[in-house]
Symmetry: C2
Subunit: 221 residues, 2 copies
DNA sequence: GCTGTCATTGAACACTCGTTTAGGCTTTGA
DNA sequence: TCAAAGCCTAAACGAGTGTTCAATGACAGC
């Protein structure tokens, strides 16, 4: 063990914090293919020091994951904020925007944080929808968990796609602006669909329910 | 110009075809970070020969893009096949599955092919929806283009997200299996939403229409 | 039969990456 | 005051990358 507290659970302090924050920003901007030297330069240190503090690049990434994850689970993010479009909500707060970008990168890269983050959003969306159902604003579903998961995937996925295609989203401000542009374009069709649906008649749904009498078990996968 | 027909428009022949096909498969499996030597080994040749034929790695990728793009635009893909879930449809045909994987990677990487592919899908979806509206099966929209684009982004994006999170989708068969698994999970909530919508009342939509009297111009961006 | 052209190889180059190592500097504690 | 410990840098290493280059072999046309 060449480091003071490489992969230990103790949170980093001092310079290590600066490195970790720089890494979150840099990884969020450029993805995880960004080099250690770039992160180090952002933090005003050397590449060697980064691995001295975090053991390896994976260790650094794990520290970033852990920090962002802890933030997501913390009370700073209320459940309502955390549901379907949590990322956009996060991005609106200047201080938290880098976390949103980092989380999106992590989702894109298929990291563990990505899974946890999406699961979390889906779970919160389920609660949120359930509350809407209780108060009579949201239609009930035959499989609430699957619906919440699907809506989360749709929303997060389209955001991911938008950023892949349109996103020269390097700077935090660009990222936020791009999310707003997407929101503007999307709101009308979304409200239309959520209000009136897409199909005129019910045959597609009825045929499916006939063909598959038991909807797939909720909470699978 | 060190190559016979590096970036020329003439399509590759013979060994060059084998290299290009190997590249489509390899890039589709591992992403564009896959090395030239790996592609070369798949094709049974040397890295040097690859750049001899295609000028550079970018040249190779451009050739792949062009080929897949030409295929997408070709008559082999009818418009109905090409709409919203074109990728899943492609993946169902053993022979074309690598194109689907390559296209998804290209979308993920934000390449030009990705943009064109998504635009194409959105355009086809618009026509498809319009036909449905004409025949009385699909509800009309105040902004059909935006709706088609949004539905395309949602579907393609969630596919992208699914593959990022669940996809150890290295092999063609795994890719197809994963798409099917996703389809199973998604069908019920999708049909529910498309049939009945999500909101019980119309206040959200009406408020929006009141607040923004003119829906954003179609076909922007 | 000779010459030129093309396909192809294998080695080398220049570069970046993550990681290692040796050492200097500062702080701490006895 | 001296030694240990920790922070930090600069340089180097080895493995990867895309790309270049000289050499080889096959095959065409004259």
């Amino acid at each position: 063990m060449r480091s003071t507290r490489a992969s230990e659970s103790e949170p980093p302090v001092g310079t290590a914090v600066r490195i970790r924050d720089a890494a979150i920003r840099r990884f969020g901007r450029d993805g995880f293919s960004a080099g250690l030297r770039a992160v180090a330069a952002d933090a005003g240190v050397t590449a060697g020091l980064v691995v001295h503090h975090f053991g390896s690049k994976d260790g650094l990434r794990a520290a970033c994951d852990g920090y962002v994850l802890e933030f997501i689970h913390s009370e700073k993010m209320k459940a309502t904020t955390r549901s379907v479009n949590a990322i956009a909500q996060l991005a609106e707060v200047e201080q938290y925007a880098p976390y949103a970008m980092y989380a999106l990168r992590s989702i894109q890269a298929g990291g563990e944080l990505g899974k946890v983050f999406v699961d979390r959003m889906a779970k919160d969306a389920e609660d949120y929808l359930e509350a809407g159902v209780q108060s009579g604003m949201i239609r009930p579903s035959r499989d609430p968990a699957a619906r919440a998961r699907w809506l989360t995937y749709q929303h997060t996925g389209s955001m991911l796609l938008w950023m892949s295609l349109h996103g020269r989203a390097v700077e935090v401000d660009d990222f936020r602006a791009e999310l707003r542009r997407m929101s503007d374009e999307v709101t009308l069709p979304a409200l239309e669909l959520f209000t009136d649906g897409l199909f005129v008649d019910r045959t597609m749904l009825d045929d499916y329910l006939m063909y598959v009498p038991d909807p797939p078990a909720a909470g699978q996968q």
